[in-house]
Symmetry: C2
Subunit: 158 residues, 2 copies
């Protein structure tokens, strides 16, 4: 990739944030594949987490992820196909199809959390724990100052 021009300091920030994110995600999925979850793709962890322990519907999942209900439905299809989600009829509303995390999905989610914890520990080994915390605090401060939209609408400009 083209390196940032030192005369344009603004370019470095997005590049570094992206590189950090990508590295964490790549490392996560390398490790997940080693632990028996090679089918889990980068976005799937976010989707599993958005489904949550209580289950949800495709429409509501779309709202949580900031994507259309159709896109959410397709993503659920894929995760059902690889065994991480399941669909069950809602006895109280025949239109709805509840989406639930399967035991395999829960295992993937649990392992993701553990791996992220270990990766964060690697950052702490390199930077020192207080600098990692400071980094998170700074980003959280930007989020609180209303600069960030944490609801992740579509990953890129879509």
């Amino acid at each position: 990739m083209a390196t940032a021009d030192p005369a344009r300091p603004g370019f470095a920030l997005p590049l570094l944030l992206l590189a950090g994110f990508r590295t964490l995600i790549d490392d996560l999925h390398t490790e997940l594949a080693r632990e028996g979850h090679p089918e889990l793709r980068p976005l799937h962890g976010f989707v599993l987490q958005a489904v949550g322990a209580d289950g949800t519907t495709a429409t509501e999942l779309g709202q949580r992820l900031g994507i259309s209900k159709q896109a959410a439905g397709k993503t659920v299809d894929r995760l059902v196909a690889v065994g991480y989600l399941e669909r069950v009829d809602d006895p109280s509303d025949a239109r709805r199809r509840l989406v639930r995390v399967t035991p395999r999905g829960a295992d993937g989610l649990r392992r993701s959390a553990e791996i992220f914890d270990r990766l964060r520990a690697q950052w702490a080994d390199t930077l020192g724990p207080q600098r990692v915390t400071a980094l998170e605090d700074d980003l959280r401060a930007m989020a609180s100052a209303n600069w960030f939209r944490l609801d992740v609408p579509g990953w890129f400009g879509g």
Copy 2:
């Protein structure tokens, strides 16, 4: 989006990095659209920058971006269609088609740099200049410690 579980601290880091990156990119393109560049998509800035002032070929562009030459060629097609890049024959090698940034492309690139500078200044207003610098330094330290792959191979796990 699902909020991070406080008992799993590792989840926050990728989420915050992604949110910061996405916010910068979204703000950039909102402002670029206002300044006469609505066609510029999130990845296009990276591509324009990778082409550089001297121009390049689709194959070499693909190597720089870590994608296939076919994918690079398609991206060039789109940027040519909207007037940000142009293709010219290489007189010294009839196989090669040089890709060059047009004046309009250079304008978009220049404005991108200016907007990023302004966005960084907004961060400095919120966090204080030294904390923004510290944040960049920390991320750069992770990159130097060989955790990061700055060459951006494909944006997601692709």
